[in-house]
Symmetry: C2
Subunit: 333 residues, 2 copies
Amino acid sequence: MKIKDIGEQGLLTILQRFCPQEIVGDDAAVIATKPDRSLVITTDMLVDGVHFSDRTTGPYYAGWRAAAANLSDLAAMGATPLAVTVALGVTGNTAVEWVEEFYRGMTACLQQDRAPIVGGDIVRSPVVTAAITAFGEVEGHRTIRRGNARSGWAIVATGFHGASRAGLELLLHSELGKKLGEVDRAALIRAHQKPNPRLDVLPVLWEILDAESKQISIAGMDSSDGLADAIVQICRASKVGARIERSRLPVPAALQSIVSPQTALNWTLYGGEDFELVLCLPPDLAEKLVQRLGNGSAIVGNITDRSDILLVDSTGIYAEEQLTISKGFQHFV
Amino acid sequence: MKIKDIGEQGLLTILQRFCPQEIVGDDAAVIATKPDRSLVITTDMLVDGVHFSDRTTGPYYAGWRAAAANLSDLAAMGATPLAVTVALGVTGNTAVEWVEEFYRGMTACLQQDRAPIVGGDIVRSPVVTAAITAFGEVEGHRTIRRGNARSGWAIVATGFHGASRAGLELLLHSELGKKLGEVDRAALIRAHQKPNPRLDVLPVLWEILDAESKQISIAGMDSSDGLADAIVQICRASKVGARIERSRLPVPAALQSIVSPQTALNWTLYGGEDFELVLCLPPDLAEKLVQRLGNGSAIVGNITDRSDILLVDSTGIYAEEQLTISKGFQHFV
């Protein structure tokens, strides 16, 4: 039996048997290291031609995005970054300049959140490969987990979704950009090339939560695999349903100029790689959070005690439909 | 300029500019997380055809060795393992059984030291690639560093050297094995396929050090790149010299049956991958350590205040010579 026969999910299921069950299943692993303080660890592997390509990304942006993806996983757990290690496989024919630009991009992104590269490995490989591991710390009661969502809570997206996908399309099909002003075009491309991990959300969130009389463990994950995927994963892990309001989805305005409303909605729900956070918390706190964050953040719906995840339209134009998990990029097919 | 033009060392020199200078240069990175307690992190990337091959290793042993190499780096810093993450790149045609065996080998090695796999990533790649990151903890004053060696201290090898290289040769040239008894042959092959990271040395070492009236920060690293390499690296980092006694080198007895004394000596000094520790500490403590460890451990020489590293023969048969860094496997050539 080969991996292409069982796919990424099939392989994951097999390999999770080798890991402690209480630890796997979130954006990052959590290890309690002292009373009410945990070490949070996340790792990502990126392969040339699979996860980046000089055609759309270039080494600086490949490095930036690799760092951003890892920091976003830490943010999704509520963790503050400590440091990063980088293992790099390069061919003899890889340009030194390529590797330097990759590191420049990584460190530029990491410096924003003061996360140094503290170690690594450099090896020979027939294909350029980077494996990044990021470590952070979180106070135990603040750990954000997928499985914490409760019926009645609001679902917050911390920013616009679909911009990264639109940026990718603009890079691949430059003619699309002619329909946009220079500022909008540059913003969408930047959303793809230089996404900002939302670690800045955390202090705002703690301030709002700390003002509460009772401790609340909120739910969430990042939207690296798409907004719809994040909502579905949270609902599955929390054994709840959700009701998403179509008109509240944070679709970037510029998308309307380049694609149909249906495509814009699809990119927002399934585009992926926006590296925003999707958080579930009591409605009054969610209101405060969205007010403080502004800039595309929105309450997109609420958690229900049903088992389905519905996309509804309160204006009555569109029929109710089930929200499904991303049918986007399938590995090993 | 391509990587093959500057080699691994050239690339390392360039990339270290992107890392905090006080952190790099040991077997693992050390981050102080609380008073007198540090997080120790090490990462290794392994590529099919470069670092392992089904011809000599097989997936179970490739997994074991990958885990052992990382635990050995933690041991070299004096750190107790906490956990491991694994990022894995596989092709669609990789056998599921191969991946399962790789994980079985890893977890078998990790379980010895109670280090769980807490997370990871699985991606598509044209070549099977594993990146392992191991985390451990060490009490600050116990951190073992390459740069701590002092003139007059003894140099301890915690076990035999050259066995792993001999095991590899036996796997590649089975006719060599005919000169050996079954037990010796199996032991050398096991040294190559299932090396034991020397975390067991640490409690013995702490017991000996704790019995001292003053705190001593000892020097050391692991011998994954060879015994000679470890001695040279420690001397360079500590800005000292060394005098190594030829007759005291821990050459496995079985090597004499299959190769010349000169080749046996070369394998012991330069063979690599024995994953023992090379430690520098005051002579009286070194004596106690070697007595407690037994089983191939030896005081191989002492640190001097000269700049050269000499291989001497007190019996007067061999001329004094300079010990040089491994001229073994060169990357990117």
